[in-house]
Amino acid sequence: MGYAPSPDRSAPPVPVKILIAGGFGVGKTTTVGAISEIAPLTTEAEMTAASVGVDDPGARTGKTTTTVAMDFGCVTLDETLKLYLFGTPGQTRFGFMWDDLVRGALGALVVVDSGRLDDCYPVVDYFENAQIPFVIGVNAFDGVLLHQIDEVRWALAVKDSVPVVPFDARNRVSVRDTLLMVLDKALDRAMLLRRS
């Protein structure tokens, strides 16, 4: 009779993560809170910031570290798999080097307030360069989109392959469906990597 190891009850789940990125006050924490099984928690993290040529007279490659507050939550998908959602700040004057954060990430949802697109340019640039699968979610505040999706896509000048979709950060199903779009992009990338 073969010995079948019973699942270890104390074995931790395999963690996976999706980043919820965007500028200040666009609804990142609301997005996390809409789907997380715990109330969003906050951790303070160091981030390396490279200043992007603002008032920089010398040729110094200005790299500094900044402490940022990061909100996060989680969803237990099954006994062996747990999804973490990390709300990551993006600030206009810094191009953050999120290498630590994006390591192993499935992808990212960039939350956008169509009234303040400037806030999300550094984030979009970063994910494009780092080849992180991402979707741009235009947060419809109070269920109202201030701009047409086409206008937002035009203003952000992202590739056609990047989905730009409206969503409601307060609505669990809306957030779930938007995350599923991120996972679709992640699946494309994983299949591509496997074939190569």
């Binding site: 931790p12 963690p15 928690l41 402490t67 990061m70 798999l81 192993g104």
Partner: protein, 153 residues
């Protein structure tokens, strides 16, 4: 009685002749300097004994941590004798918990948390279940995440 008003002026007394950037150091007598024990809060590098990066480089935000069961690989010193921050971390790891959660619940800076978790792992108190984060997740894992998410309503 009190000094004449003129002596309060910037050039009139000893403090006035000290450059502004050094003035803050003037009252640095015993018990008042940065080392005084009653300072509000402890600087992160005090908790980590001055180190800025830990031994366990593979610890990520989502890395799961658990208490190591008693046995040959366990700690030599009882948990009760640890510093309060370390005891708090061990107490949080009763069930599997992520490094980010430890940081938030113990109210410790994330980098500090990583270093302390690495220490507690090295000393035999905790198990760190580090994943290989250098590879992009497999299609199978992603499909499982999608399946799990679709079940949410």
């Amino acid at each position: 009685m009190s000094s004449p008003p003129a002596r309060e002026g910037p050039a009139g007394d000893a403090a006035g002749r000290v450059p502004p950037y050094l003035r803050a150091q003037l009252p640095a007598v015993a018990g008042q300097g940065p080392d005084r024990a009653d300072a509000q809060g402890v600087r992160p590098f005090v908790l980590t004994a001055g180190r800025v990066s830990g031994d366990a480089a593979d610890i990520g935000l989502e890395t799961q941590v658990t208490v190591r069961p008693a046995g040959p690989g366990g700690p030599h010193v009882p948990v009760a004798s640890l510093a309060s921050e370390l005891r708090a971390i061990v107490a949080l790891c009763d069930k599997p918990v992520s490094v980010a959660e430890i940081s938030a619940r113990a109210r410790l800076h994330l980098e500090v948390t990583k270093i302390l978790v690495g220490d507690l792992w090295a000393a035999g108190y905790l198990d760190v279940h580090a994943e290989d984060l250098s590879e992009f997740p497999s299609p199978e894992t992603i499909l499982r995440v999608m399946h799990g998410l679709r079940a949410i309503s």
